[in-house]
């Protein structure tokens, strides 16, 4: 820049000299570039001129309006450095460079490295992501496996519990079956005993001094009762047949009637076949009463009949 000559004035009519300034700018085409470089190599004045313009172009690199790089760019660069392939410094040979920046070297782009760096980074990121995904998948499967194992353990425990319950139920059923067999056997025995006692009772009543029949008081009823009176002991024996079955909270009650007054003669129940027996001892001889009746009453008996009689009978003929 300290050249005393006017810029460009020293080569007014020569194309090579005219291209020195634009060559420094990088605007010359291939043929022009080689011609200018040859001139600069052969002519010190041309070389000085080219150097002056190159310094001007070098300053031009700093002429862009100053703009702050985005803050995130530094973080991006740091991340890229983490993924950049290692390069040993000793391997890198110094690059012989001209004193000033060269015009745009279109065939010498540095970008040939970038696809390789980007591809390497992409592969690393892909492998890293795949590894993370697989680790996450393994963790998920492990958790699912642990859950299934716990469920299987719970299920085994439940099955064992159910098996124990079934065994206990089987034992209970077997025991109940045995009890049922025993009860059935006992029922057979009781039936025989009842039949025997009924015969004994009938024979006993037959030997009583007086007998009284009580006939159905309700239409289409087959209920029937016979009372034998043993005047010597002041004891009466009642044998009921074909009485309707009672609910568990009910009982039959014998009423002795005199002058319209009902006196309880006692309570009894009947079997499934409607048979029942009552031995009673009234406060007076039986012939002191006018009649008899039997009504269903709540368990424990009532002070007076609360329901229509099942059977009734007179204690005096006529």
């Amino acid at each position: 820049m300290n050249d005393a000559r006017s810029p460009g004035a020293q080569f007014p009519d020569d194309n090579q000299e005219n291209d020195i300034a634009t060559h420094a700018l990088g605007a010359t085409d291939a043929g022009e570039r080689s011609a200018v470089e040859a001139l600069a190599a052969a002519d010190p004045a041309a070389a000085a001129e080219l150097a002056a313009y190159r310094r001007l172009v070098e300053i031009m690199h700093y002429s862009a309006p100053p703009v702050a790089a985005p803050p995130a760019l530094e973080a991006t660069l740091r991340a890229a450095l983490e993924g950049a392939p290692p390069v040993a410094a000793a391997v890198v040979a110094p690059l012989p460079r001209p004193p000033a920046p060269q015009p745009v070297p279109r065939g010498r782009s540095w970008n040939w490295l970038w696809p390789a760096v980007a591809a390497s980074a992409a592969v690393i990121l892909l492998l890293f992501g795949l590894n993370l995904w697989q680790m996450g998948r393994i963790a998920t499967l492990s958790a699912e496996n642990a859950t299934l194992q716990a469920q299987l353990t719970d299920r085994d425990a439940l099955i064992a519990q159910r098996s124990a319950q079934l065994t206990a139920l089987d034992q209970q059923i077997a025991a109940q079956a045995e009890s049922l067999d025993a009860a059935q056997a006992q029922a057979v025995d009781l039936g025989a005993l009842l039949a025997e006692r009924t015969q004994v009772l009938a024979a006993t009543i037959a030997r009583a001094g007086e007998t009284y029949d009580m006939t159905p008081a309700q239409p289409e009823s087959a209920a029937f009762a016979t009372v034998g009176w043993f005047d010597a002991g002041g004891v009466g024996i009642l044998q009921a047949s074909d009485f309707p079955p009672l609910a568990p909270d009910m009982t039959y009650q014998l009423w002795l009637i005199k002058d319209g007054q009902r006196t309880s003669g006692g309570l009894f129940t009947v079997s499934d076949t409607g048979s029942g027996t009552l031995i009673f001892s009234p406060p007076d001889t039986l012939d002191a009463f006018d009649g008899m009746g039997i009504t269903p009453e709540p368990a424990g008996g009532s002070s007076a009949p609360t329901a229509p009689p099942v059977v009734t009978g007179s204690l005096h003929e006529g």
């Binding site: 460009g8 070098e58 862009a64 690059l95 745009v104 070297p105 970008n111």
Partner: protein, 195 residues
């Protein structure tokens, strides 16, 4: 406190010291980004080129020769080449015709620049370029920022080749005169590398 030199930082980069490279980025990142943005005029592309430049520095720190110039000057030359290459690749996809270089408002924050001497020279040169006739200034900017040659400018603008060369040469000569008038006693700062 003496600031560590570019050469020392580059030496540490050669020893795979990432923090040293980050220090260089903090020192010259704005310069590189500003040039990339001026060339590409798209912040995303400018960011990619800026990152690309520093990754190249990381991978091949030995390619800078301190005896031949300042690190910032070398970085900016790399940036210009990378940005022009990127611009040409993008142009293949967008079929962008040659257009005039207008200094668009970026809307970005002005940056504090390192290497203040060279940067001040550059900003002065930018002001001087505004004194050139428009047809000369636009051709210089297209050649510098877009990397167009004489023939490409002639074809793209539909201007005869001779006219292109005449206007370019006249613009550069006038710019040189303006520069020397503005700096009668000085030599451009770039001739005295601080490394």
């Amino acid at each position: 406190m003496t600031e560590i030199t570019d050469a020392e930082l580059l030496h540490q980069v050669g020893q795979r010291n990432q923090q040293a490279l980050i220090a260089l980025y903090q020192r010259y990142g704005n310069l590189v980004y500003s040039l990339a943005l001026r060339t590409l005029r798209q912040p995303v592309l400018a960011e990619e080129v800026t990152q690309d430049v520093f990754l190249k520095l990381w991978q091949q720190p030995g390619r800078w020769n301190p005896a031949l110039g300042q690190l910032s000057s070398w970085l900016l030359a790399i940036t210009r080449n990378a940005a022009i290459d990127r611009l040409r690749r993008e142009a293949r996809h967008t079929a962008t015709d040659i257009d005039l270089m207008t200094e668009a408002e970026s809307g970005a924050e002005p940056a504090v620049m390192s290497d203040l001497g060279a940067w001040a020279d550059g900003q002065l040169l930018r002001e001087l370029m505004r004194q050139l006739p428009t047809e000369q200034r636009e051709l210089i900017e297209l050649a510098f920022y877009r990397g167009y040659t004489h023939s490409e400018l002639s074809e793209g603008l539909g201007v005869p080749l001779g006219t292109v060369k005449t206007r370019l040469r006249a613009g550069m000569q006038k710019l040189r005169v303006l520069w020397e008038q503005a700096n009668p006693e000085s030599t451009p700062s770039l001739t005295h590398p601080n490394a």
